[in-house]
Amino acid sequence: MLRLLATIRKEWLLLIRDRGGLALLFLMPLVLITVMALIEDAPFRDYQELKFDVLTVDNDHGRLARYIKEGLEHSGQFTLVDSLDGKPVTQEDAVRLVNAGDYKICILIPKGATAAIVSNANRIVNDLSKRMGLPAVQPVKSRNDSLNVLIYFDPAAKKAFKSAIHQALDNFLTQVETDLLLERIKLQLHSKEADAADTFAIQLKAVGLQEQVTGPTKQINMVYNSVQHNVPAWSIFAMFFIVIPIAGNMIREREDGSLLRMKLIPGSYLALLAGKMLFFVSICVVQFYLMTLVGIYLMPLLHLPRLVLGHSYLPVFVIALCISLAATAYGILVGTLFKTPNQALSFGAISIVILSAVGGIWVPLEVMPPAMQFIGHLTPLNWGLEAINDLYLRNGGFAQIMGNAGKLMALCLVMLYLAARVEKGRMS
C-alpha cells in the first residue's frame, strides 16, 4: 500500500510541476469541447430549429396565401419577406435573390389559387349531393386549370431542407383544401348548427400522433443536439489523449533512469504501475466530470443547449471509469512499446485522432458509410460514446451499458497484458 500511495503522490507532484501537461489535460479539452459545440451547433440543428427568411410573392391574395403565410409564421421557423425597400417582391426579384443565395427559398402563390381550391371543393360537394339525391348548387369553374404553388430554392440548399419545406407546404395546401371542403359541405347541408360541423371537424382529428420515450424511465423529450453529442464525445477524446502524458512520463522515466531504479528496488513493479494507473484513471474521471460541468453550466451561457444527463448517475460513473481504464492502459502500452518520446507522442496523438474520427466522435456514426460504421463499432471511443448515449439519451441503466463497459475492460486487460509481455521480453 505504501508503494502504491507513494507512487500516486509522486505522479501528483510531477503533474503539478508540469504546467504544459496540466493545460493539455484540463484546459485544452475545455476549449476543444466549447469550440466544437459552437461550430457544430448549426449542422446539428434540425432544419425545423433554424429560422429562415422566406420571400413570398402573393399573386392570389386569397385564403390559400393567408393560410400559407400564417402557417409558416406560426411554425416560428420562417420570417416572411413580401416586400423589399417598401415595394412588393416581384417574381423576377425573388428568383434573382434566391439564385444569388441571398435567400434560401421563395414561395410564389399563383393568381386564382384559392379560387381553384374552392371550385374543386364545390365540385366534390356537388358530386356528393347528387349521389345523395340533393341538388348540386355550388358554383364550379367551367375550366379546371392546373395551378401550382411555385417554390424556388437556393441552388446550394440541401436535399433534406428541400424535403422539409415541400412537406410543410404540402401540409398547408392539404389543410386549406380540407377546411374549404368542410365549409362547402356545411353550406350545402344548409346547417345552422355550427356545433355539428365542429364535431365533424373534431372527428377528423380523432387519431393523432404522440411521441413516447423508449427508455425504462420517464424523461423529458430529449433532442440530440450539438452539446449532447459534442460534450460526451470530445470528453472521451480528451480522456484518451491521456496517452500523451502517460507515454511521455513512462519514456522519460526510462530515459532518465528512474525506471531502472524502481526496478532495482524489491517488491512488485506491478504495484508501482497500479499506482501510476490509479492516478491517471482519477485524472481521466476528473476530466470527464469537468467537461460534464462545462456542458451543464458553460454551454447555456454561450446560447447553446444545456447538457442533459439522464437519471443513471452511478452507471455514468462506472462507464467513465471504464473509459478511463482503457485510455490509461492504452497510454501504458504506447509508453512501453515506443523507445523515444517523439515516436510515442506522434503515434499516440495520431492514433487517437484516427480512432475518434472512425469512432463517431467528430460526426455521429449513423452518417458514415456502412463499412466505416462497421469499423467504427470496433473502436473503444465508440464503445464509450455509445454507452454514454445509452445513459443520457436512451434513459438506460446498468443493463444497457454492460456490453460496452465489458468491451472497454477487456481491451484494458489485453493492453496491459501486451505491455507486460513487452516489458518482460526486454529483460531477456
Partner: protein
Amino acid sequence: MITVKNLHKTYPGALEPSLSGLSFSFPKGRIAGLLGPNGAGKTTTISILCGLVRADSGDAQIFDLHQDAHHREAIKKMIGIVPQQIALFPQLSALENLTYFGNLYGLKGKPLRTKIEDYLQRFGLEKNGKKEVYKFSGGMKRRTNIIAALLHDPQLLILDEPTAGVDVQSRNMILQFLREYNQQQGVSILYTSHLLEEAQSLCEEVAIIDQGRLVMQGQPLQLIQQHPECRNLEEVFLHHTGLAVRD
C-alpha cells in the same frame, strides 16, 4: 562473496556476445573494482548481478544466493545500486526523490526523514534538499544518486561509474565516503570505472575484463608488481586491453 561463474550473454540481434564465459570472485566486505574498456561487459555483468538482465548461461551469486527467480527479491533487498545514469526524477526535489525511493523500500515517517537528512548532510546537500534535481550540478546529482541507493542499508553497494562527469571536490567526497562506509559499516562495494588511478587508490581488489572475459584479477599493487614494465594500474590495463579505441 560475489561470485560469477562462466557467464554467457548475447543480446537479441547482437552480432557479438557481451559476455563469453566470464568468471571472477570477490570476498565479502571488500571494495572491489570491475574494470574494462567500453563494451567489455561491465554493465551487463552488473545488470545480471542485480537481476535486471538474465544470463544465457552461467551463474551469478551474491552472498551465497544464486541470482535466479527464487532469490531475486532477497538479493534486491541486500544490494544498493548506483546506476551510471542519474536515476532520479529531475522535476522532483532531492528530498522528494529520496522520500519516494525510501517509501518503495518500505521506509517511512521520521526514521526515513532522519536518515535522508543525515545523508544529505554527509554529502553536503543539506541546503539543497528542497531544490529540484534538474537544477543541481553534475556532482550534486551524482551524490543524490548515491544516497538513493543507501537508504535501505544494503550489504552490498554496486556503483557503475559513480564519479563520471563530476568535479575533483565531488569525486573526493564520494570516494572518501565509500572508504568510510566500507570500513565503518562493513559493506561490500563493487565499483566500475574508467578512471584507473581512482580504482587503484580505492579498490582492494580489481578484475580487469575485456570482450566479455576475465583478463586478470588481483590486488592493484600485486598486478602492478607482476608487470615490471608498468608503473601503475593504467599501464597494466593498457598492456592487456591494447591501445585500440573501443566504441
